[in-house]
């Protein structure tokens, strides 16, 4: 663009006549510049006009001014652009954050809702009749109606009336049971027993135990835990807790009733037979304590029917004891032989040494308590002791069993009035084990006192007597599980002198936890023996 045309353009743009001179143009530009002092274009035009009038110096000043104003404008524009970019960036970031986190927030809300729903306490149904919830009951009813339909189809002459208006209203289940005669039920029991035994063999890899001295036990269907499925952990824990309550309450009728009710509610699974066995064992022990022969035997058989081999010895222990109490020595002896067979059986398979040794201990106790067989008793105890002593690394359970066996052995040693060295060696081992409870320490000290009394070691006899009285003084309750009957019988022969025997009997009576008496009464008896000894 030429200068001339430029100025022509300017004149047009500013609305001046084409004939206007440069001076007029300059004056107009300067006037405009005053009105718009920040306009770099006006400064440039003024500079150009000045240059064309040969005012170079002034022109140069306006050129610089134009450049300065341009710079200022550029900076302002840059700032604005910068702000705009920043604003845009902020908006983009907000959108990004929003769209990134919205799915996460939604997922968290859904997750929280689901978690709350899952952890919402299960409500107990209003109608809490257990039969309503037992799937097996429902299944049985379905199967029963199917059987009835088939029966009717094949035997059109048969008619069934299950209505409540009928005189002998029966449910389909009751009707089917009534159709089954004794033989049929017997056959069903035998089949179930066989099935149960074969399942045992399959599961544990060993044949089911059968005592040679008695026929196979007949079990009713309800006594055999044979439902399929894995063990329900929560049911096991629940029953273990309930078992401890029943155990402490010692209410035999309640235990019996609970077994029936729980069995109906839970529909015992084969994998849960240990729980059923626990409960039956509790019932056996309870009825045995009550001296109820019939119920003890009934529940001992039910315990057998659970098929849990950990309880075989328990079954025969109680059978031996209860039969002996009832005066049936022959039955007691058969049960004892079964106990021994059971001990041999568990010795062959993968039962723990502590468990096997405990059974030897029980066998010894039975032989001594009920059959006066001191030799078998001692041998069984020594066998149990040897078994555990031969194991290099002993668990706490093993040490506990050893301490109990040692105490039993001590009773046989005192009865047999064994040589002093053997007795002292055993006593030392018992004293150093530190595993006896206070109750059993009382038994130990009573036996030690009697041993020293029968050997006229008066000073040595007085030491355990002092221990006995001081311990009784501190005991809030005297708890032990010690049957003195065998020892008391043995006293007749083991202590020749009448006066010493009488004092020994007094001590036994003081240390018998099954004889209800006050602590002061027990202490008084022991003090009387001490006085008698000191006067000798």
């Amino acid at each position: 663009m030429s200068q001339k045309s430029q100025f022509t353009q300017l004149k047009k743009a500013w609305g001046l006549d084409e004939s206007a001179s440069l001076k007029e143009l300059l004056a107009h530009a300067q006037t405009k510049s005053k009105a718009d002092p920040e306009n770099p274009e006006l400064s440039f035009n003024i500079a150009e006009l000045l240059r064309h009038q040969d005012l170079t110096k002034e022109a140069s000043q306006f050129y610089k001014e134009a450049i300065k104003k341009t710079d200022t404008k550029t900076e302002v524009r840059s700032n604005k652009l910068d702000q705009r970019v920043k604003k845009q960036r902020k908006s983009t970031r907000s959108k990004f954050l929003l769209f990134t986190f919205i799915p996460l927030i939604i997922a968290a809300v859904i997750g929280l809702f689901a978690w709350q729903k899952l952890n919402e306490p299960e409500k107990l149904p209003v109608d809490s009749d257990p039969e309503k919830f037992a799937f097996t009951q429902w299944l049985a009813k379905q199967q029963m109606s199917q059987i009835m339909t088939t029966l009717q189809q094949q035997n059109p002459e048969l008619s069934f009336d299950f209505s409540s208006s009928s005189a002998n209203a029966q449910t389909p289940m009751e009707f089917m049971q009534s159709l089954m005669q004794a033989d049929a039920i017997e056959k069903m029991r035998r089949d179930q027993q066989k099935a149960n035994n074969s399942k045992n063999s399959e599961g544990e890899g060993r044949p089911a135990f059968q005592c040679s001295k008695e026929p196979a036990v007949m079990c009713s269907a309800s006594d055999i835990p044979n439902a399929d499925g894995e063990s329900r952990e929560e049911v096991v824990l629940l029953m273990e807790a309930y078992n401890s309550i029943l155990d402490s309450e010692k209410d035999c009728q309640k235990i019996e009733q609970s077994i029936a009710t729980i069995g109906q509610q839970l529909q015992w699974r084969k994998s849960e037979r240990r729980i059923k066995a626990n409960l039956e064992d509790l019932a056996v022990e309870c009825f045995y304590r009550e001296n109820n022969l019939e119920k003890t035997i009934e529940h001992a058989r039910k315990l057998q029917c659970t098929g849990d081999e950990s309880y075989i010895n328990s079954v025969y222990w109680y059978m031996t004891a209860i039969n002996h109490r009832a005066g049936d020595k022959s039955a007691a002896f058969s049960s004892y032989q079964c106990f021994q067979e059971a001990t041999n059986y568990i010795s062959q398979y993968d039962f723990s040494p502590a468990y096997v040794a405990s059974r030897h201990r029980e066998s010894g106790a039975l032989a001594w308590l009920y059959f006066d067989d001191l030799s078998t008793a001692t041998n069984e105890l020594i066998n149990g002791r040897k078994l555990l002593k031969s194991i290099p690394e002993k668990s706490d359970a093993m040490l506990q069993v050893i301490s109990e066996i040692n105490l039993d052995l001590m009773e046989t040693y005192v009865t047999a009035n064994i040589d002093r060295d053997t007795f002292i060696e055993l006593l030392e081992e018992i004293n150093s084990s530190g595993l006896l409870t206070d109750g059993y320490k009382q038994i130990k000290d009573t036996l030690a006192a009697i041993y020293h009394m029968q050997n006229n070691n008066i000073n040595e006899a007085l030491i355990p007597l002092v221990n006995l009285t001081s311990r009784f003084n501190l005991m809030p309750e005297f708890i032990c599980g010690w049957d003195w009957s065998g020892f008391e019988r043995g006293l007749e022969e083991s202590i020749a002198k009448n006066d010493i025997r009488e004092q020994a009997k007094t001590l036994v009576s003081a240390a018998n936890c099954y004889i209800p008496q006050t602590m002061q009464g027990r202490i008084q008896k022991i003090n009387n023996v001490s006085k008698w000894l000191k006067l000798r």
């Binding site: 899952l118 952890n119 306490p121 299960e122 409500k123 107990l124 149904p125 809490s128 257990p130 919830f133 037992a134 329900r232 952990e233 929560e234 049911v235 824990l237 629940l238 273990e240 807790a241 309930y242 078992n243 401890s244 309550i245 402490s248 309450e249 010692k250 009710t261 729980i262 509610q265 839970l266 529909q267 409870t437 109750g439 005991m475 809030p476 309750e477 708890i479």
Partner: protein, 212 residues
């Protein structure tokens, strides 16, 4: 200084009967300010007595009917409601149950508004007194799960169930019934499990019931 500490005036106070009474009054006041509870030494021991369980929370005492609680828990377990350590309702005074390996069956106490408060103790017609009176000293002892915090209920006398526990213990002691206890809270609630789990499943009496 000599005027301030005068031995004569001190002798006057001590020898004067009114002065002696003042000294006694001051001693009594100090004694009252340092009032302490006479604590009985607990002797926790094995027992042949069976435990009757109670939960104490917010000054209220609830007798746990284990027959109902376990029957309902069994029902829930057969329905699968107790799997995976889930909480389930026991339909017994708003108590929730949970079964897990460590604690056996846990009982979560929540709303105690329907429980009898310990203030009813000793009142002849109160349900709580009747319940405690059914305990047989020869076969039973009372075991209390005592909450050591409350739900912020301002009505309660103390900030825990201990006041109620002490009262109940004293009441039972007069009836020669032994008592045992364990502190519980919402994280470690009352629980019943088999004793082979160890110490935490031991329910032993610690206070003797015999009045000497």
């Amino acid at each position: 200084m000599k005027n301030l500490i005068s031995l004569d005036s001190l002798t006057d106070i001590v020898s004067n009967s009114v002065g002696i009474l003042i000294i006694f009054a001051v001693i009594n006041l100090i004694h009252d300010n340092n009032k302490t509870y006479q604590l009985e030494i607990p002797i926790e021991h094995r027992t042949e007595l069976s435990p009757a369980f109670f939960i104490i929370k917010n000054d209220s005492i609830l007798a746990m009917d284990t027959d109902i609680l376990f029957s309902n828990a069994t029902l829930q377990a057969t329905r699968g409601a107790a799997t995976n350590e889930r909480l389930f309702a026991l339909d017994y005074f708003d108590i929730l149950g949970k079964i897990n390996e460590d604690k056996g069956v846990s009982f979560y106490a929540r709303d105690t508004s329907k429980w009898p408060t310990f203030k009813e103790l000793g009142k002849g017609n109160s349900k709580l007194t009747k319940t405690l009176n059914t305990l047989d000293a020869k076969t039973q002892f009372a075991f209390f799960f005592v909450y050591d915090s409350n739900d912020g209920d301002d009505q309660s006398t103390s900030a825990s169930g201990f006041e109620a526990f002490r009262e109940a213990r004293e009441y039972l002691k007069t009836r020669r019934i032994k008592t045992g206890w364990r502190p519980v809270n919402d994280e470690a609630p009352a629980n019943i499990c088999k004793d082979h789990f160890g110490k935490r499943c031991d329910y032993l009496p610690s206070y003797l019931g015999d009045v000497r």
